[in-house]
């Protein structure tokens, strides 16, 4: 599906080479297998303080939602008014880390340290009764956390 235009058949020589090392500060994505998770670790116990200070004002002190999304609970999804939250809907724990690191807290994205992101992630998982309060979340343990709705997604045929 494309309109006419000529195409270059070999590199044109514009742009500059860059190393993965130099890209590091931008290379923040985390995949479902945990690829991209940085060093560092934390627990929900530590996360609780962070969350109450930096997140609760928008998401509620128990993750029940406020001016921004509810993060906890929600129940089953095959009802007339399904409630989609991290707990009820999200298939991968790694997505919490990836998203919080890139986009939260809302007014100051990418202001948290990696330890802090592990802490917030652990606390949200704990609030959803998915992990115990003192479970250590790091690059190794986080991808092993199985989310309740892990099997809730179907890929469309392509």
């Amino acid at each position: 599906g494309c309109t006419s235009g000529y195409q270059a058949h070999s590199p044109i020589g514009l742009g500059k080479p860059i190393t993965e090392n130099q890209i590091q500060a931008w290379n923040i994505d985390v995949g479902p297998s945990g690829a991209g998770l940085p060093p560092g670790s934390s627990t929900a116990t530590i996360g609780e303080k962070l969350y109450q200070k930096q997140c609760a004002s928008c998401h509620g002190d128990q993750g029940q939602g406020g001016v921004a999304n509810r993060l906890v609970g929600g129940g089953s999804l095959n009802t007339n008014s399904p409630v989609k939250t991290v707990g009820s809907f999200w298939p991968y724990s790694t997505t919490i880390f990836d998203y919080v690191k890139r986009a939260m807290p809302h007014q100051a994205p990418q202001s948290l340290t990696d330890d802090q992101v592990y802490a917030a992630t652990a606390y949200i998982l704990y609030l959803n009764k998915i992990i115990p309060k003192d479970a250590v979340m790091d690059a190794k343990t986080l991808p092993l956390v199985k989310m309740p709705n892990r099997d809730g997604f179907t890929l469309i045929e392509r």
């Binding site: 989609k84 809907f89 179907t154």
Partner: protein
């Protein structure tokens, strides 16, 4: 001005005894260069604007195109709908960079000056948010076509084929998916199959002849013809090639389609065949019996519009509308249908068919196939009810 809205009666008054008088504007010099150096719409068109949600929510995320006031197929840049996840960043183009890395032989960084020097390409394509018309799935929730369908626009986009720039980096055969990332405060990300990226993905820097508007991703965005709008990542700063999707928040928590059984469909990319009558449409009023042109838009993310049919009796009978040339792949297409209104209540509908053979479904069919919980990808037929007094309302 809108032929089907009853305007004030100044014209009738002015007619008086029917004798023309020389108008005051003919008897004087007009203003010289009323709008230098960059022009603006006529002051009499000040109501033709994008629509913000009302009452305003805490976090404003979208504005809607006034489809009922558009003519032809091009959406003027000032009226193109917006959807952001962290507001509109202020990016100096001289400082903007695009990084391409991951499964490539040579990771590269490009300045905007590099990017505009590549072979370029322009295309007229629609852009639609996959959440367009979402609220209607549950019940008749809105009144005007701007409220219901306004997350839809169509521009001439100019940029560089992503495949051209990827050539500079050397794509490795194992690359199957790409992550595209914005430089906005959401660092918005989506996973996109390499097949699309190599086919017709465009790195866009201009719309309708001029550089992108800030709210459209200035200075650089991805554009994926026919795919749901949020995937055409704005303020694009990075593309990473990999082997599997990243499962980002915007392809798990959001932009997945929940079914009645509680399972959700993921990676539903193409915006399916759809159409809507914009004239007349909700909250307009037919002045009197007689001739009206029924007109609107049809589009499909799966190809060209092949046919649009119009019904004036609520779907009992259908007749073929005229398609305005040019009929472009994955573009809005303007359809027109002549109608003599006899003053009786009527229900107007349009139904589009695309080159893949898909027929636009009724709302019942959409809900049956996808569930009312699905939220995204509502491409149902939109009925407009015309009352005997000429008032047009949402016929959902």
């Amino acid at each position: 001005i809108n032929g089907v809205i009853s305007a004030n009666s100044a014209f009738a008054k002015n007619q008086g005894d029917g004798f023309l008088e020389v108008d005051p504007w003919t008897k004087t010099q007009g203003s010289t260069f009323v709008n230098p150096p960059y022009g603006l719409p006529s002051k009499y068109e000040k109501n033709v604007v994008r629509l913000l949600p009302s009452p305003a929510p805490t976090f404003l995320t979208g504005s809607r195109t006034p489809l009922q006031s558009l003519h032809g197929i091009i959406t003027p840049n000032g009226l193109v709908f917006e959807r952001h996840h962290a507001g509109v960043p202020d990016i100096n183009p001289d400082l903007h960079k695009l990084v391409i890395h991951g499964l490539v032989d040579r990771p590269m960084v490009f300045s905007m000056e590099d990017i505009v020097r590549f072979p370029s390409e322009s295309r007229i394509n629609f852009l639609e948010c996959s959440g367009n018309s979402a609220a209607e799935l549950k019940k008749a929730s809105n009144q005007t076509v701007q409220q219901i369908h306004g997350l839809l626009s169509c521009c001439e986009w100019t940029g560089v084929r992503l495949s051209t720039i990827l050539q500079e980096c050397g794509v490795q055969p194992s690359a199957k998916w790409a992550l595209a990332e914005g430089a906005d405060g959401a660092a918005m990300t989506r996973s996109i199959p390499m097949s699309k990226m190599m086919d017709d993905a465009l790195l866009v820097y201009a719309q309708n002849g001029e550089m992108l508007r800030a709210e459209q991703g200035y200075p650089l965005r991805l554009f994926l013809p026919g795919y749901e709008g949020n995937m055409s990542i704005k303020w694009l700063r990075r593309i990473k090639l990999g082997t599997e999707p990243w499962q980002t928040r915007e392809e798990t928590s959001a932009y997945t389609d929940l079914r009645a059984d509680g399972k959700a469909l993921q990676f539903t990319f193409a915006m399916e065949v759809k159409s809507v009558i914009t004239q007349p449409s909700g909250m307009m009023k037919l002045k009197s019996k007689g001739f009206y042109e029924i007109s609107g838009f049809a589009w499909s993310g799966n190809g060209k519009i092949r046919r649009v049919e119009v019904s004036t009796d609520g779907g009992k009978s259908w007749s073929e509308a005229v398609l305005q040339e040019p009929v472009i792949d994955k573009s809005l297409v303007r359809f027109r249908f002549p109608w003599m209104w006899d003053g009786a209540p009527a229900t107007l509908m349009s139904r589009a068919v695309d080159s893949s053979g898909e027929v636009q479904p009724t709302m019942d069919a959409v809900i049956k196939a996808k569930s009312a919980n699905t939220f995204y990808h509502n491409n149902a037929i939109q009925p407009w009810r015309v009352a005997a007094n000429g008032e047009v309302t949402n016929g959902r």
